[in-house]
Symmetry: C4
Subunit: 204 residues, 4 copies
């Protein structure tokens, strides 16, 4: 068989990048359950011990939904990507690193809420993690919007809006870091509002 | 290359939702092994130490088979789904959250069985987790039965029966929560019976 | 659009069963690293502390390769399976349960080797786990060999040999359980020999 | 239906090997987050406790990026592999074993950096792990370069360069092991430089 022309080399499809990303998202989101416990059951039996652990259960729900929403948007982004280049794969790797790290600041927040001044440090770390994550997401989003990587059928106008939408979270998360030192709760509410915003479908 | 018509945009296929769900199910079901241990080996050597840990081994088997049965039914449900919309992806995310949480109530039950009144609290939490899971499953099931998402070849009559079948567990799990405060064991037997019911193939 | 004939319903393909199985194998095989540690570093520094932990490193390698060999044979089995039925999916679930449990007897063996009579109990549990696993594997193997599930191109003679080959491990593992009470090491060597046998390609 | 000719048997495609590998990479890379903690928060509050833990955070980032870079190169290697044989599947299994083990030497290094002579042992184990990993990677690379397994369209010249490139790390990692006993830091810098080298795209 004759050596083929280099031009016959097909573009790298997105399937393995998607399957690897899905795997990382799936493991990261499922590891959150390892932080669910019952603490020490001393006074009042199991029922009240469970009650005292509520920040951990709340943190589990918030982190699960946040990682899930990021996955949904990652999913929506890859619908329009026809193939990947090495830079995109590398930027996606940085995004996945920030995603897998989320259980750590969440555990921090659950452990230090209502624990004096440390709750502000924990809230700032929490908001900071999401700022880094948003920067990574926007980097993937922006790079993948280059014409050479986008599927032909994807409307140019919608592409511009999708990229712009990713930038909105950046200044808000930066504000949430600053606000954390005034009030941990206000900072968290701000983080939750951004999550809700990204959970809503894009207006078409 | 010319900008294509927006109408050329293909429907979102189910493959990434399925692969992400498979990943979450696979991780959740495999994490159960982390709770297998031998406790403290003091009197009677390893053999009797292993014997004393039987509630954890039983809990491992029950939880594994329950998550497995849910996966089989999730699998059967997605056979008829031709493509997903954002609502379905979000409802499926809520379902996955309840699936990943299962190791926690199972661990609780294994730890508190035969531990006085706390075993009733543990059994109620256990049954309650499955009630929430069933609600989430039925929500995905009902939403995905909308004509626009179902494959053309799927018989309408079978669709109706599949959705109806999902509702049957709801009142039974609710009863199991109430019964837990009378007897933990009766509540558990009821939960096991529902699992067996859903393990059986649907009568066609 | 008219309701289609039930006969148009396609056979369930094997892809989701394979992807779920791959996920479970991948998680089970990777969780083994969580048991690698350095124990307490007291006398002789890190180097000798690492040296004392050799049974855990050996157990990691043995367990990893054993689960890997099972995966390779699972992979080879599914090459000839054209589609799955509910029974096959359920038997495969039982097989996966035994696979995910393997880290537990391995940890037991690593912890109790050279620990007096308990090492025999640990070796018997270890060999027993593989007997159960082999029974589950042969059940999937035998059921999937039914003509209705096998790909048309697969030679009938090779099918017979593949199924027969799966039975060979059963009496040997049973013997290994009995031998464990005479000598843990002889029992382990027997288990290793079966693993090597299944690692070898099938003679065609 | 007539028994088909044995020659009709299709070659084993690479998809399940890739999906299993992606799963193992995804789990291994995500398990790294389990080592992130805050240690004991005694003096100076949470902020300074977080600061003291920096070697663990650095180790998380380094390990994540290293496993990620290996995945990218694994991905690039499988683009040219048209189908797998049993030897390739087995060599790939050995490669995956070294990948899943990485969290252990990383944890070791994070724990023993700046801890007297033990940091040299830890650095040698760390560099040694990457030497073993490189040998496994080159084995897969070399075996998969055999004409029978390579896609027809892949240029022969590029194939030779890809294989040769894999060998470059071997002597450098061997040097890093020796250097570890002179200086842990120099050894680590060498390991990092190889990672950067393999992160760069291959010159075409």
């Amino acid at each position: 068989m004759a050596a083929p022309e280099p031009t016959e080399r097909p573009d790298t499809p997105t399937d393995r990048t998607e399957s690897f990303s899905d795997g990382v998202f799936a493991v990261a989101i499922t590891l959150l359950v390892l932080d669910l416990g019952v603490g020490t059951v001393s006074r009042g039996g199991l029922a009240s011990a469970l009650g005292r652990e509520w920040p951990h259960y709340a943190a589990f729900v918030v982190s699960f939904l946040t990682i899930g929403i990021i996955w949904i948007n990652h999913h929506a982004m890859f619908v329009r990507i026809a193939h990947v280049d090495r830079t995109l794969v590398f930027l996606n790797l940085l995004l996945l690193m920030t995603v897998t790290a989320i259980p750590f600041p969440t555990r921090l927040l659950a452990g230090y809420l209502h624990e004096g001044p440390d709750e502000r440090v924990a809230a700032a770390v929490y908001a900071g993690s999401f700022l880094v994550l948003s920067i990574a997401f926007s980097a993937v989003n922006t790079w993948s919007a280059r014409r050479a990587l986008v599927s032909e059928w994807f409307p140019a106008e919608q592409l511009r809006r999708q990229v712009r939408r990713g930038y909105i979270g950046l200044p808000v998360y930066a504000a949430a870091i600053g606000l954390a030192f005034a009030s941990a709760v206000v900072s968290l509410v701000l983080c939750a509002l951004i999550a809700v915003y990204y959970a809503l479908p894009q207006r078409v």
